[in-house]
Symmetry: C2
């Protein structure tokens, strides 16, 4: 749920690939594993990290678990970056001011 976890979760390429697949629509673990070139257990582990970051959620559907993208983790990350963005703009403005002193 915290932006730090979203950041760490999305930093890994294959985990990001799994997430991007889910962003296009809900899918079972097996389906996700087929889209990536790692084993199915590896995908399960990635899903755990994504789940703890609030980026995805699960709904059991019989024997299979259907994963889907969740808003929370992404919103947290977007908010964090927007905060940084504001500060960066401020820093730029400050620098313009400073350059007037020559």
């Amino acid at each position: 749920m915290a932006y730090q976890e979203s950041l760490a979760a999305l930093a890994d390429p294959t985990r990001r690939a799994v997430y991007e697949a889910l962003v296009r629509g809900p899918k079972p673990v097996g389906g996700l594993a087929r889209g990536v070139d790692v084993s199915r257990p590896a995908v399960s582990q990635h899903l755990k990290v994504l789940r703890e970051a609030g980026l995805v959620g699960v709904k059991p559907k019989g024997a299979s678990n259907i994963y889907h993208a969740e808003k929370d983790g992404l919103v947290a990350l977007k908010r964090y970056l927007d905060g940084l963005w504001g500060d960066v703009l401020q820093a730029f403005a400050d620098e313009i001011e400073r350059e007037k002193d020559d």
Copy 2:
């Protein structure tokens, strides 16, 4: 310059701390090192990663190197997340539609 590098760069806590310090204003390497509990060379290595991601830039000022936040890397990351966000909303909309079929 690519969002992948920004993601990887900001995923590390101490590197993120260095970046956040720069976002509040330009600083020399030594000053940055004093704000974090790792050695100065470690900070230099983090700055290299941040620089390659387009998140920071340098301006030599005499003997010291003044680092500052750069827009490019952050913009790239924000764009990527906005794309994801759009897809997530679409996926949610699709799911609402699907639930009408019961």
